[in-house]
Symmetry: C2
Subunit: 157 residues, 2 copies
DNA sequence: GTGGCTGCAAACATTTTGCATAACT
DNA sequence: AGTTATGCAAAATGTTTGCAGCCAC
């Protein structure tokens, strides 16, 4: 369980202080189990705790990451960095380049990958970051006429 | 094979011009089969083609990416973006957080993942980005005290 | 010849940092 | 009280863009 108390424990054990910005960032990550950009986190934080500086959000995230409480991840070819709680249970991302939907799967795939690496390559995996870009079941079933080729090239900012 | 000619073909077919900067960037990526940061690419380019602007490197990479000739990838928790030729054969990265070594594996793991997603989730994978951070066989065998062969960790920017 | 590229420099976006002050323990 | 962490603002990074001239076709 990712309770608020958990944060307190993690921080205090290491001698870090439990501050308002840190709590707010933590809460933002907890409330939205989705992946959040720093900007989004800052917005959520600001709603409950006006006055928290962006720099503090960054600093909080950096600290959490250092304590392995959160995880930084890039989805597919997105150009933004996103953050999420570091669930002990690994999962992976399925990004549909057709509808943009992002699914998180907590299946055993990651566990199997880890096992494969261990027995096959002697690699002791600590963290697996698996992102797959393709077409989700819904869009695939929908045939070909979807969000066509050009649009793919559109994003090119 | 990823010959220089290949670049010409890819570009010309689509009506893009084969220019000095583009050739230089392509060559840089070919010479070092390793993952390169934009900075590293720019350095390699500058060595053979002084006068090529950084902006052109970015523009070349963006174009190549759009043509699926190269691939942008973030290794583990690195904070820099790296580029590599988009080998048609998928592969994945094993990053050792002990010695910093990055292995590229072209095994069937990725293919199996794709198959799993297709049959299990109906997801039609187009691109798989798998990065695993952990401890490599060498470091794991070495017990705890490692500070490994620096020569292996060379690339780390 | 001409339109697509490039170099240059300025603009942007994002993340980091120095320092005086506020706040957690 | 003693520090650590914050807010603020400035700086450092990394990437993009407007534009006049150049060059591949």
């Amino acid at each position: 369980m990712s309770s608020s108390d958990e944060l307190n424990d993690h921080l205090r054990v290491k001698g870090y202080r439990v501050t308002r910005p840190r709590r707010a960032v933590w809460r933002a990550l907890m409330d939205a189990d989705d992946h959040l950009t720093v900007e989004e986190i800052a917005a959520l934080v600001a709603r409950r705790q006006p006055g928290v500086n962006l720099a503090s959000v960054y600093r909080s995230l950096a600290l959490f990451a250092q304590l392995d409480l959160v995880r930084e991840s890039r989805l597919g070819d997105e150009d933004v960095t996103r953050w999420e709680l570091a669930h002990p249970d690994e999962h992976f991302h399925l990004i549909c380049d057709s509808c943009g939907r992002v699914d998180h799967h907590a299946g055993d795939l990651v566990a199997r990958i880890i096992e494969h690496l261990r027995s096959g390559h002697g690699f002791d995996a600590r963290s697996v970051d698996l992102s797959v870009v393709g077409r989700c079941a819904f869009c695939a079933a929908d045939g070909e006429q979807r969000q066509p080729p050009d649009d793919i090239a559109n994003d090119s900012r």
